[in-house]
């Protein structure tokens, strides 16, 4: 096909095309694998929390304790720690965000699914937009008006006026454009790259073991496949970490908008 895949003697290296799935039920239908994963992940999160919260006791059972700990982690370590007392209002959004993202990310290492839905830019994109709408709305309400919000954002007090020439556009672009963009791209391409590397190690190992000739192929392929197991655990860590980072940054932006009062 291309020059370097020919150089690899017939091995077709994985690329962005591996992230494009045809509709599951044949040509012309709507539903694709990333959509299925999204639905399954949401249902899994909903079922887990439903079972955990059903018949909630003051002294919790194992499942209730697990659910409470998970919720408490987002509530205390993310929302309350980075926003403060007012953060309690945003806990439902932040907790849903975290567990939705965690489920969609971790689907990348779950057997059979084995694809992080969040490597498709649509999912991080709309979540980043939602987060930005929320923090900007919070900021505008806190500043009592759109004009005052932007004025406070772009022209912070206590700075000599010539600096504003540089600072105002930077502040505007960074808050309104860079923040959602980085949220989206960071998550998407962490998942994208992680999945690509995993697929490369697995397909490459398979190719080396079964199709590349000789002992060298089997040996190198085995190392590659063993490496893919290690990488799977590493990917699981990255997936949870990225869900955490996305949620934490959303919380920090909300907290910043609330603190920008003066």
């Amino acid at each position: 096909m291309t020059t370097w895949s020919i150089a690899a003697e017939g091995f077709q290296s994985p690329g962005p095309a591996d992230f494009v799935y045809p509709p599951l039920f044949g040509e012309g239908t709507f539903f694709t694998k990333p959509m299925l994963i999204t639905v399954l992940g949401s249902v899994a999160v909903a079922v887990f929390f439903y079972l955990a919260a059903r018949r909630a006791q003051r002294v919790p059972g194992k499942l209730q304790y697990a659910g409470e700990s998970a919720y408490g982690f987002v509530r205390n370590s993310i929302a309350l720690d980075s926003i403060g007392k007012e953060g309690i209002k945003y806990v439902p959004y932040l907790a849903t965000l975290f567990f939705f993202l965690a489920a969609l990310n971790i689907s990348g290492i779950i057997p059979v699914l084995q694809f992080p839905a969040t490597s498709r830019i649509a999912f991080p994109l709309f979540l980043a937009v939602v987060s930005c709408v929320i923090f900007n709305y919070v900021g505008i309400r806190r500043a009592h008006g759109v004009g005052r919000y932007f004025k406070q954002m772009m022209f912070p007090a206590g700075i000599p006026w010539p600096v504003y020439i540089l600072l105002a556009p930077i502040e505007f672009v960074s808050t309104i454009i860079i923040r959602p963009l980085t949220l989206t791209l960071r998550l998407t391409f962490n998942m994208f790259a992680g999945h690509l590397v995993l697929v490369l190690f697995i397909l490459g190992g398979e190719y080396l073991v079964f199709e590349y000739s000789g002992v060298v192929g089997i040996l190198a392929g085995s190392i590659s496949l063993l490496g893919s197991i290690v990488l799977t655990f590493f990917e699981g860590f990255v997936q949870l970490l990225q869900a955490y980072v996305f949620t934490l940054l959303s919380a920090l932006y909300i907290g910043g908008a609330l603190a920008d009062e003066h």
């Binding site: 096909m1 291309t2 020059t3 370097w4 690329g15 962005p16 095309a17 591996d18 992230f19 494009v20 709507f30 539903f31 694709t32 990333p34 959509m35 999204t38 639905v39 992940g41 949401s42 999160v45 909903a46 929390f49 439903y50 955990a52 919260a53 909630a56 006791q57 003051r58 919790p60 209730q64 659910g67 409470e68 919720y71 408490g72 806990v91 439902p92 959004y93 907790a95 849903t96 567990f99 939705f100 839905a117 490597s119 498709r120 830019i121 649509a122 999912f123 994109l125 709309f126 979540l127 939602v130 998407t188 994208f192």
Partner: protein, 189 residues
Amino acid sequence: MAVNLATEVVLAAGEGPSPLLPHLGELIVGIVAFTLLFLFLRAKVFPVFEKTFHDRAESIEGAIAAAQRDRTEAQQLKQQYERQLAEARDEAGRIRTEAQAQRAEIVEAARAEGAAERQRIIDAGAAQIASERQQALSELRREVGTMAVDLASRIVGESLEDDARRRGTVDRYLDELERTSARTAGSAS
């Protein structure tokens, strides 16, 4: 050349659309799934957790308050017992002092009674001794008379069996004695 290179890059990237372009279907499914999940969790799950957190905190605070209450109660009871104990100790002391006073009184009374009894016994003894002495004296006087007569009759050999005569002799003798002694007393004076 430039066209060729661009074609190659596109080919290398695969035939699919760029990974930077959001897929409309995924966007819709994602938004719907996230919204439903958010609404469900916000309605059914998070309030339950918040409520259990709140209940738990409240029950712990309640337990602390109850413990506080129990402790103050225990302290009050302790103070009450200590007060009662002190009162009991005071009363015991008072009773002891009273008993000592009473004992001294009783001993004093007993001593006075004993002394009175002793005096009475001494007096009775003295009276008895006096009466017995009187009795002995009169008996002696009678017996001395009898013995003297016996002795005299033995000496003179004469039986003075007639009672009247004997008594007359004795009386005479005694009168004589008295007279003699009176005379001696008169001559002496």
